[in-house]
């Protein structure tokens, strides 16, 4: 079902859904960007369509929803672990095509690689996806190169128009809610998607990871990369976490076991008790991340982890370009042939 609806009508649907759903979407936070006089765009719960940022790309992905930055796994006493009660509300999550593909990369790790992760599944089962169409490509995007410019599994598609939006409804609950609107007009439209990016990436398809790891190209990043991990934290497909136990000040025998985001660029990621660690050089961390995104994940799961959102390049304080790095690898591969 495809409809043209105005903002007031969409908001009435949002309100109607609010008993059962949390609506989470990118929101513009004026002057909250990392640089002066810039805005931040990140995911938050919204109640109206006007709050949703459709114009620009969100600097952070929606992964905070799926895998919170810190997530309590257990409350414990000295002799008991208790699983925290989980939110039961459904989630209507507004994502662009690349981020829908990113969700699939998350599913692969958390639902398929080894046993099912119960915390992830508990959230994932409640999520319905609303696709935000992309009218044009953004800076550093290379979704077309990664084949993630178009998504085909979503409950709802949306294309904002003046004073309202075109919506495509592929799911019963949402279709019913919108069908009840008196002012809705049936129309024909396709949720727009990008067909060409300025940034183009050629993924090397047949590299020998171990051989590539020994190349000199990584040494450039030893000094350029400052190991801040921003590229990992804005990446919609970086899934790594660490464990952390904390205890309460007023009763030291009780506390929480949490998992917290961690990342392969950050110091300590591989350090084991006793002090032995791997990849001390920052260039080797860049190599580890790059190969995970465009080589070894594909080797294991038959699809590349990177979805070409370009957020890593947007975020890097040293202006390191991941897309250029991947192109360097494919140039080397071509040169080797």
């Amino acid at each position: 079902m495809k409809l043209r609806v105005n903002n007031a009508e969409i908001n009435s649907v949002f309100e109607q859904l609010s008993g059962e759903y949390r609506i989470i979407a990118p929101v513009r936070k004026p002057l909250r960007g990392t640089m002066s006089d810039t805005d931040a765009i990140r995911y938050e719960e919204v109640t109206t369509i006007e709050e949703i940022e459709f114009r620009d790309k969100a600097q952070f992905s929606a992964k905070e929803v799926m895998q919170p930055i810190t997530q309590v796994l257990f409350y414990f006493t000295e002799d008991e672990y208790k699983i925290p009660a989980a939110d039961q509300k459904k989630i209507l999550l507004f994502l662009r095509a690349c981020d829908i593909h990113a969700l699939d990369r998350f599913d692969q790790i958390y639902l398929d690689n080894g046993p099912v992760d119960p915390y992830y599944k508990q959230i994932r089962d409640r999520v319905k996806i609303a696709l935000i169409g992309c009218e044009h490509s953004y800076r550093n995007c290379f979704c077309v190169s990664m084949g993630t410019n178009k998504a085909d599994t979503y409950a709802m598609g949306i294309q904002p128009v003046d004073g309202g939006a075109n919506v495509e409804l592929n799911e019963k609950d949402l279709a019913q809610a919108f069908a009840a609107l008196t002012g809705a007009e049936h129309i024909e439209f396709e949720v727009p998607f990008v067909t060409e990016n300025t940034t183009k990436v050629t993924v090397p398809e047949n590299i020998d990871g171990k051989g590539v790891a020994e190349l000199d190209i990584w040494r450039e990043y030893d000094s350029r990369c400052v190991a801040c991990g921003k590229c990992n934290f804005v990446c919609p497909t970086c899934t790594c976490f660490g464990m952390q136990d904390i205890f309460y000040k007023d009763n030291e025998n009780t506390g929480e076991r949490r998992r917290v985001w961690t990342s392969c660029h950050v110091d300590g990621y591989t350090d084991m008790a006793g002090g032995h660690g791997f990849r001390k050089k920052h260039g080797d961390r860049m190599r580890f991340k790059t190969l995970h995104k465009v080589h070894d994940y594909n080797k294991r799961f038959n699809k590349h982890m990177c979805v070409g959102c370009g957020r890593c390049d947007d975020a890097c304080p040293s202006y390191i370009s991941f897309s250029s790095c991947v192109n360097k690898l494919s140039d080397l591969e071509k040169g080797a042939k």
Binding site: I109, P115, K121
Partner: protein, 264 residues
């Protein structure tokens, strides 16, 4: 849905001291497992750490633990009769079928003896299951020797053994030097029948593998076990990934044909 992160409590049946900082905790446990698998020991307030199983009994498992970090420091305050939490077992472990009717050579460095001790125990129980057996084991110094009574019992039972230490005070009568020094002296009757297991610190494994290859041992007859940072043991946290391999799920035990392709 079952929660894979939920640990279970297990009673400490016995604590065996090896050195000032290394103890074996005998823990109540019933369930199938093989040598080389590991548990995540889980102490509220202190966290979790992967510990390989150093012995398997009908109603217990042994965990040999060195005081080396937050969790293991705390663990050494525990007494017999108390319980601590763990989850697992995880990983593939050593499959005994690879060693049956073979000339088995186990080479271990320091606490690397713990994950392979289960194999030696099996062979000790039934010597006829293998054609021949030799243990080549190295420790830092005579004070760092682990499993002293087991080493003596295995020797007593006629299982071949070379015990060496990296360094010792003058007057020490045993072997001195790295394990690599003793690889050329090992007796191998038939190169086609030999199976070599190597477990220890990364550098020790790297150079020991090379020594065996120099001796002519085929790569597919060499087995190693890897140790990496593991927060979950479930293929999620990413800490142990090497190329497309998750040490916690696909390992920690690898045939060298596969292991040689891995890189950090």
């Amino acid at each position: 849905m079952s929660n894979a992160y939920m640990p279970f409590g297990s009673e400490i049946l016995e604590i065996i001291q090896h050195t000032d900082i290394e103890y074996t905790f005998r823990m109540a446990y019933e369930g199938d497992m093989v040598p080389g698998q590991f548990f995540e020991v889980s102490i509220p307030k202190y966290g979790e750490c992967p510990i390989s199983v150093s012995g398997i009994g009908e109603n217990y498992i042994d965990l040999t633990i060195r005081r080396v970090g937050k969790v293991t420091d705390e663990l050494h305050n525990f007494k017999v009769g108390q319980k601590f939490f763990m989850r697992g077992p995880y990983g593939n472990g050593f499959e005994m079928k690879h060693y049956e009717n073979k000339e088995v050579i186990i080479t271990a460095g320091g606490s690397g003896l713990a994950p392979v001790k289960g194999i030696i125990d099996e062979i000790h129980r039934d010597k006829s299951s293998v054609k021949d057996f030799h243990l080549l084991v190295g420790f830092k110094s005579p004070e760092d020797v682990l499993f002293k009574s087991d080493l003596a019992a295995w020797k007593e039972a006629g299982l071949g053994q070379t015990l060496t230490v990296d360094g010792a005070e003058e007057g020490y009568e045993g072997h001195v030097g790295l394990v690599t020094k003793y690889v050329p002296d090992l007796k191998i009757a038939n190169m086609d029948d030999v199976e070599v297991v190597i477990v220890g610190p990364p550098m020790m494994m790297k150079f020991t593998v090379q020594e065996y290859i120099k001796r002519g041992v085929p790569e597919n007859q060499i087995w190693v076990s890897y140790e990496r940072k593991m927060h979950c043991g479930l293929g999620k946290c990413g800490g142990c990934k090497m190329d497309d391999t998750y040490i916690c799920l696909d390992g920690p035990v690898f045939n060298y044909v596969d292991a040689k392709k891995l890189f950090d």
